[in-house]
Amino acid sequence: MNSANTTATTDRILVCCGTGCIANGALEVAEAIEQQIAEQGSSATVQLKVCRTGCSGECEAGPVVRFMPRDLMYYRVRPKDAQAIVASLEGAPVEKLMHKVDGKAVEHMADNPFYALQHKIVLANVGVIDPLSLDEYRAAGGYEGLARALKMTPEQIIDEVDKSGLRGKGGAGFPTGRKWRTAAGYDVFPKYIVCNGDEGDPGAFMDGSTMEGCPHAVLEGMAIGALAIGAEEGILYIRDEYALARDHIQHAIDDAYAAGILGESVMGSGHRLDLSIVRGGGAFVCGESTALMASIEGRVGEPRAKYIRSVQRGLFDHPTVLNNVETLASIPAILRDGGSAYAQIGTDSSKGTKVFAMVGKVKHTGLVEVPMGTTLRTLVYDIGGGIIGDRPFKAIQTGGPSGGCIPESLLDLPVDFDTLTEYGAMMGSGGMIVMDDCSCMVEVARYYVDFLCEESCGKCTPCREGLRQMRSILTDICEGRGKPGDIELLERIGHTMEDASLCALGKTAPNPVLSTIRFFREEYEAHISNKECPAGVCAALTQFAIEADACTGCGMCTKACPAGAISGDRKEAHMIDPAKCIACGSCREACRFGAVLTTRRTA
């Protein structure tokens, strides 16, 4: 980790060590490469340094290894590949580890369409620098924004943020400058700046990766915010599950104190700032601002009515600014390069970039950052490479349990704070789950309602009881007991929840149900009237059969079947025993010849 003397003669091997790549064995790969370097020896002119970076984005193809400055990208690297990689550093690249476009191997990151269409500001340093090195962050321009801010008045800082057009990227899209200005206007001390790192949407890992990959950017953003509003204490509330992010943030805080960036006198300015971490307790509702503050105060994470805003009376009843990780990590660049530079990216009403975690049935899953206003089609098809197995696209779920499912007809809409909302969907915090024709929208709605039944705090009636009733109705529909009138009843309960629930979680909780009804009503009707699940997901309504003509008898389905329901001799057509079939769909997933047919379950 000794990174102090990065000279021109030091070549770097960047090994992505984000959560996804670590889960895929990246640490072992880094070790193997280091060992190989020791064995093969670096040449006299080039020093090799293995750098464990944050998430480089394409988690699906991890572990990802990048060789700089030559910019060679290797994917799906195993420890046993280390020898070939080190041996090839000065010669021909290892072709089998490279990304292929139309069968041709591409060397550089920019030639891979997954990266080519991205525009990185928040993630600029993620995957490039060693997240544990303050020096590398500084060498990349880190803390220059704070240094500039220290020469400005709070008003000037806020003006700069205003000029950038930055809006809260946790999903709500409230103008950050306006929030800061309101908090700065109260002469009640102490004030607090809080970072919301309780990223709880299933399928979203933007903030976790940002904290892991470039923790100093978050701290710098907080320090600038603290100066602007006049706060001397800041708290990062980080989700319980994000152990690596917590470690890296803590490491960065310790380094920043040691370097005089935090503490008694921020960079020698005489301003005081203390930052600390509060570890979340494992509750989705704590992503809601008032619940998050209750949790920091050492209480149950129940929201309170929000008619008095947190900027006036928040944490410990004092003026508090709560910003999400991505918002704060956008601040350093705005202060360093100026608000107007930032405002040139994006659309009229949504400036800058947005980070998305694209997962599900898309070919290249991972973390992407694009200018606001990029269309969903670009995201899914150009960057994501389309649907796995080239199956038909069905929907994209955005915004997690507070969001909705967007159908194909809206794929050409630009993604920003306002457009999708007009069409009854939302951009959300950045989770994007791509679904193909094998995803049942009723079951997806039930999944989110199930999630929320557990994650609702349970304080107010519409959310707690509304979700309970929705779960029971949706379960009935999925299991063939749906009745005429169910859709309308779900809508009535949903609209009541939208208006009458206490907090943002409750008000948005019906979104997955209401948006799937809006865009996929016929699928609900098929379940209710025909007792049929067109996607072949709801087990009570589905059974699978093998089309004898298409079956090659390869046996993949037999291997995949957890119920032992498939039989057949090798190279002969196989059969599914309907009595044993649990309709899990494993065979359909395993079959490469499209021989598994989805049919309506007959009694």
Binding site: G458, K459, R464, R468, R492, A500, S501
Partner: protein, 250 residues
């Protein structure tokens, strides 16, 4: 002197202090807004039953707010029984009735206000509690803090730690008395009261024999003072008699 505002509630002009809760303004002006989780005994309101929702038109925008905690900050026009509010309130009522089907008086109350009729909602067998939280609020306000909410989401309930008799409980019945649905059960014999899984010895007035409370609650209420042995009315009578005896000879 705080600023005064004039607002309109269901067409009636009402004056109020800036920052006053909308529910309080309506009540003072004889306009009834239903609520289950609000008690005059407390300054803070949990705003969780969501029955007291009303529509507020303010600066050209209409929104649904919870009247019990909505502070009136500027002139506005309020509808407590608009079509939207009646629809949504009736859905919330239906949700509550199905949550607590066994709450005795509650069903009638809801019946009068009109809940959505449907046979598609599931009911919780034997449940009486609507989770308004007034019992916890009362227990905390007294300083005992013996009960709290337990779990979260649809599993939420009110209980003592571990569902066992709690050392902090004094058996005072404040929770049961404040409960709008009679959901907190207790029983009494001549000598013992049982509540929240614990038996409490009853104390009777040495004069008239009336139950004064449990031994624990009488001691708790006395704090550091001398623990009384007579009920309030007997004590007053006793005092009066003493005074009489003293002053008769003056």
């Amino acid at each position: 002197m705080s600023e005064m505002l004039t607002i309109s509630i269901d067409g009636k002009e009402c004056t109020c202090k800036k920052g006053e809760y909308l529910y309080d303004v309506a009540k003072r002006n004889g306009i009834f807004i239903p609520t289950f989780c609000r008690s005059d005994a407390f300054e803070d309101h949990r705003a969780c039953c969501r029955i007291c929702i009303v529509e507020v038109e303010e600066g050209g925008r209409t929104k649904v707010v919870t009247s019990c905690v909505y502070p009136v900050e500027r002139e506005c026009s309020v509808q407590t029984r608009s079509e939207k509010i009646m629809e949504e309130r009736s859905v919330v009522m239906a949700l509550l009735v199905h949550r607590a089907p066994e709450a005795p008086s509650f069903k009638n109350m809801v019946g009068r206000m009109g809940a959505t009729e449907t046979d598609r909602l599931v009911t919780l067998d034997g449940e009486k509690c609507i989770l308004c939280g007034l019992c916890v609020q009362a227990c905390n306000a007294l300083g005992t803090g013996a009960i709290s909410t337990v779990n979260r989401g649809t599993e939420k309930k009110i209980d003592t730690p571990y569902g066992k008799g709690s050392d902090a409980c004094v058996g005072c019945l404040s929770c049961a008395n404040v409960c709008p649905t009679g959901a907190i059960e207790y029983s009494e014999t001549d000598t013992t009261r049982t509540i929240w899984n614990r038996d409490f010895e009853l104390v009777r007035c040495e004069e008239c024999g009336q139950v004064m409370g449990t031994q624990n609650s009488v001691v708790f209420a006395a704090a550091d003072e001398v623990v009384p042995t007579m009920c309030d009315s007997c004590r007053k009578k006793h005092l009066a008699d003493e005074m009489m005896a003293t002053y008769r000879y003056v």
